[in-house]
Amino acid sequence: MGPGFFPKAVAGLLILLGIIIFVVSGRDVSPPEDDEPGIGLLSLTRILFFVIGSVVLFGLTLSPLGLPVATFLMVALASAARSGARPVPVFLTAIVLSVLATLLFAFVLQLQVPVYPELLK
């Protein structure tokens, strides 16, 4: 049976279930409550891109730019995802959170994260 058996069996079941779900075409779930108007595609794309992008951005900038800057960028981008976000609250939130996060994680919890940007070293 070997190391491939279990994954293959599970994958096969998943494919089977997928086909059944497709064939059932939505009759297995209760109808969605459609009382709120959906938001536009542009806003939705913005939310998805900005929030997920902010996490990726953090991953990219943590080593080169250090924890406070990376956190600032992450919070700024993520906050901007919200519809109706204004520049000043976004900026302030980002500053406050990056300072608090650095204090908490780097100093209080002594987490070994880079704090200072590479360029300054």
Binding site: F6, V51, I52, V55, V56, L97
Partner: protein, 505 residues
Amino acid sequence: MIAHTDIFNGIVLGLQVASDPTNILFCLLGCLVGTLVGVLPGLGPTATIAILLPLTFGLQPVTGLITLAGIYYGAQYGGSTTSILLRLPGEASSVVTAIDGHAMTRNGRGGAALTIAALASFLAGTIATFFMAAFAPVLAVAVLKFGAPEYFMLMFLGLITSVVLAQGSVLRALAMIMLGLLLGLAGTDVNSGQYRFDFGFYELLNGVPFVPVVVGLFGIADILVALEKAVKDEAPPVLNRISSLWPTKREARRATPAALRGTVIGLVLGLLPGGGALLSSFMAYTAEKRFSNMPDRFGTGMVEGVAAPEAANNSGAQTAFLPLLTLGIPSNAIMALMVGAMMVHGIVPGPRIMSNQPALFWGLIASMWIGNLMLLVINLPLVGIWVQLLKIRYQYLFPTILVVSIIGIYGVEFTTFDVYLTAIFGLLGYFLYKCRCEPAPLILAFVLGPMMEEYFRRSMLVGRGDLSIFVTHPISLAMLVVTILLLSSLLFPFIQSFRQKAFAE
């Protein structure tokens, strides 16, 4: 067999461990965070436990588990507060409490409702603790008869039950289970050393890391969904005047048997795979209504409608730990997180836990009682504060959640790979939500997957490749039969309408 002295010694040991100042402190912390999370709608105990999991790694294993457990049953207390006062259930398990609880508030009996909820929860918690202390050793002994086929069948039964008893489409939940299993299987195969599903990333050779998956699926996805819904921060509804905190004698006389009934329901349902606080509270409310001689008055402020579900969700939350502590098998997503926490500390959950780690086992059980006591004492005075907290705007809340989660995740393995993984699973979680697929079965299967495969392979070794081993072993056969019965019960209209009615909320 298990002597009474063993249980007694265990309880004494447990109280010693639980009264350690560090453990008391972190128990308090967990309960407070739990209540906070329970009060705030949108942030659930599952996501919170996932997010705070990395932060507990520096603690002693017992302390870490005590904190996380405190978050779980603390959230039950918090959810009922807003449920009763503001008709805003902070937790899914408090939804039923809102029905009669808020009605009581409208009648001016809000304070009494809160007290009844708190006392019922405490009563349930106390009984549940004794139940666990007495029952766990019995279970541990019974489990010694389990071999590989029985373990595999039990996990299989657990997965199926959690799907059948839960809400939403069973088909999609089954698909989620399969997906979770596949994710769990990624990594290095134990028996042959072959790499599976590693996509060329060396970081995946040990399997897909647990925390990024959970935080992505629950935490990040929640944020995406909430932002899409463009949740408007409304000012919390005006708090009706609370005339007095204490229930009248008549109210107390009716509430007590209801609380006891609810406790029993929670004790049983919490044990079931897939069970826990949510299912218990729904069932308790339904049962009260069914067996009352005034069923029409439910919804107008019946104390039984508050006492029973509150007791049930508390005892259910606690007994949900039993399958984990005795068998090593998580029965719902939150327990799966506890498994993750244990494994990071190098503790393998299983029947050996009671003998190998008695301090951990008994300490956790004892601290649940202490936590219930803390919650009872703290919550009533702090009600005003909890309500004020609802005013925090989501625009400040969600970046905070993001920061704590992501930095916490980085702090586990210090690799940005985990951060990117979280982002990917966040996106996945959002799409699952859009496709009306529940992520909880996925997490459960993700944790159980490697174990299931190992027991399956062992069964095949013992049975020499013959699948019939699962039907020739009596216990395994029994579980298989129950699973098939459960699955086929879905075809009956009675069950279908029952599920729809129970989850129509």
